[in-house]
Amino acid sequence: MSDLLAARSQMAMSLGFHIIFAVIGVAMPLMMTIAEWRWVRTGDPAYLALARRWAKGAAILFAVGAVSGTVLSFELGLLWPRFMDWAGAIIGPLFALEGFAFFTEAIFLGIYLYGWHHLRPTLHIAAGIIVTTSGVVSAAVVTTANAWMNTPAGFELADGLPHDIRPWAVMTNPHALHESLHMVLAAFAATGLLVAGIHAFLILRGAHDNFHRYALAIALLVGGIPTLLQSISGDALTKVVAAHQPAKLAAMEALFHTAPGAAFHLGGLPDEESESVPYSLEIPKLLSLLLYLDPQATVAGLDRTPRRDWPPVAVVHVAFQIMVGAGMVMMMLVLWAAWRWKQGRLYEDRLLLWALALGAPLGFLAIEAGWVVTEVGRQPWIIYGIMRTSEAVTPMPGIAIPFVMFTVLYGVLALVVVWTISRHISATERHGHPPESGEVR
């Protein structure tokens, strides 16, 4: 394994691990806060039990999110020192801003998780709201930094170095708004549907108390609305990619040849050698229509980009199909659930509950796939059009060693997390809503 490949794999693995916990860290606090607020409003103890139960399990996930994030902030230098040397001054301020968001998040999370007996409920709920807000801000800010790597802006290039940095233009780079919005929606959609799926499963297993019904309702609400919005946001994001990163778009859509009235390829495994897309269903003119609302519009294909600047087409195309496919299925699940809810039969439709349970991981699948589209689709560039990934990598040899080490470490951690959380879930199942005594430690 070459050092470059090892470094890319280590980055991808660390990010792919972190994002799972980060996303839960964004959305879970909102759900806990809603449950606690319902308790204050209705006085129903099942809501309080729910808020506490969620908080106790989520505390583990928050901690793993925080430590894996720390690894990332060092890895930017450990793996890509030349990138950070070049771009640190440009995207660094965004990360510093992020640092403050982490601070408020961690502080009020501590207050929320450990402060059940120290604070009045209104203050406690306020702490939960602050945690949610800072989580959303940190997700948006870090995605903005990533957006800058896609559409670098806000500086002048002279002698191969950045000059005249304009921080505001960096923060408002063309990708920033759409990408951050898409990411934040993804966080709520994925976490909401995951939690909904878990509680749907427990209801199927015979837990028929209010605890699980409330949980399902809150999770569906928090996950469902963003899921529906996600297709709009994704569509807008695709158009931004088409405008600024034509090679990435062509790879996403497996479009080898520039053409008016471009066809849409559903599925398929693009072959770079023969420039064809075997096993795909070709729908004439649909791509032009989707992108430009005009069936005759010309869409730039990969032939506009020199071959050495192509991203790996097959990976990007398949990942894009997985994300969009997962998004469609999630939307159907949400609409189905909404319809049953309106009929007042949400908790009785066993088929729906099974579908929700099986669809629980879909949002996370979409997130991982979406990041593969963004990151692999940007290759061979680390800063699009400016710096190649191969120019950025550390001179340190033997990167395969830390890569394997972190992979094993994270693998073990993932197993332990799954095991611990499943103990939490099965404890909930057995006791219905257990009489939480004392502090949530």
Partner: protein, 343 residues
């Protein structure tokens, strides 16, 4: 004062906060090693209760340090993360294990007995990683100060191992560890009302006082060859000598206060000593960010970025400090805000 110095000062401030808070959390983790025997479970419970609500917040100082470093002084960040890849990776592994082991142990659904195999396992991981992290952090700082990151022969060993695998950096690592552990012992005294626990901790703090003082002396003597820039700054300038003198006084006050059971005074003096040590290092290393080839002001980001960072930190501080105050007010009222009479 120019912007680069202002920002470097803020970086140093963040480091002080990290050492005083996050550093002590690592130290407390190391004390789990001794939480055995008759009162072992009481010590363990005390440590868990003391760091539970705050360690994640304290940890964010480190993240702030890293981000200020790469935003304001990208060259320094690149040099450090390249040459110190190995100790920094070890630091990261320790950070990951420390945090995860702590939550796995304290957030299990059904509270289990202290002797449960998984509890024992996670406690060991927690303690071991709390021990490795300060060592690596100190080694990193020792290397930065030592001047061993200069141009070297292009061999793997010379570039990536020799700079830090040397007597002086490792000595600074040990000193850092001892400092964190001793801070933790002194803080913990004020977290409990149990006189027996207090007495245990006081004895440990006294032992640690001896270790910290001797290691501190050795670091100073060794810096003569190990980190000449630091030695010159401390021993050959008026300011440096003044800082050394004050550090020694703070040490003696800590000792006296521990002997007299004036624990609040001991805590204040120990914290002052840490601040002086960090300050002394920084002042004598100025204008180097990394000795001997990354210097201020050349290594700083352009002024518009520095200005943005300084303002963000100032405005961010307006949110951060009241929030931190509130956090400590809620959970540390007994140790920080209660009148001294009832300790």
């Amino acid at each position: 004062m120019t912007l680069d110095i202002l920002l470097a000062g803020m970086l140093l401030g963040a480091l002080v906060f990290y050492v005083l808070t996050g550093g002590a959390d690592f130290g407390a983790g190391v004390w789990t090693l001794l939480a055995r025997g008759k009162r072992g479970h009481l010590h363990q419970a005390l440590i868990d209760r003391a760091i539970g609500p705050i360690w994640e917040s304290n940890h964010v100082w480190l993240i702030l340090i890293v981000t200020i470093l790469f935003a304001g002084f990208p060259r320094a960040f690149a040099v450090i993360t390249t040459a110190l890849h190995i100790p920094l990776t070890a630091l990261l592994v320790a950070i990951v294990l420390r945090g995860s082991a702590f939550v796995f142990r304290t957030h299990d659904v059904r509270p289990r007995s202290d002797h449960d195999a998984s509890q024992v396992f996670w406690r060991r991981i927690f303690a071991g990683s709390s021990l490795v992290a300060p060592l690596m952090l100190g080694t990193t700082i020792g290397t930065i100060a030592s001047g061993r990151l200069s141009e070297r022969l292009p061999s793997f060993f010379e570039l990536f191992v020799a700079p830090w695998l040397a007597f002086f950096p490792l000595l600074v690592g040990c000193f850092t560890l001892a400092l964190f552990v001793s801070l933790a012992a002194i803080y913990l005294i004020l977290e409990t009302a149990d006189p027996l626990l207090q007495e245990d901790l006081r004895r440990r703090a006294l032992v640690l006082w001896i270790i910290v003082s001797s290691l501190g002396g050795i670091v100073l003597i060794e810096s003569r060859t190990g980190a000449p820039v630091i030695y010159d700054g401390l021993a050959h300038t008026g300011g440096g000598r003044a800082i050394l003198g004050l550090t020694a006084i703070a040490g003696l006050v800590t000792l006296a206060a521990l002997l007299l059971r004036r624990f609040r005074t001991a805590r204040a003096a120990a914290a002052a000593q840490v601040i002086l040590i960090i300050f002394g290092w920084a002042v004598s290393q100025y204008p180097y960010l990394v000795v001997p080839n990354v210097r201020l002001p050349e290594a700083a980001a352009p002024d518009q970025v520095l200005r943005l960072l300084v303002w963000s930190l100032l405005i961010g501080g307006l949110v951060l400090f009241p929030s931190l105050f509130y956090l400590y007010r809620v959970f540390k009222a007994h140790a920080l805000f209660a009148p001294p009479a009832d300790r």
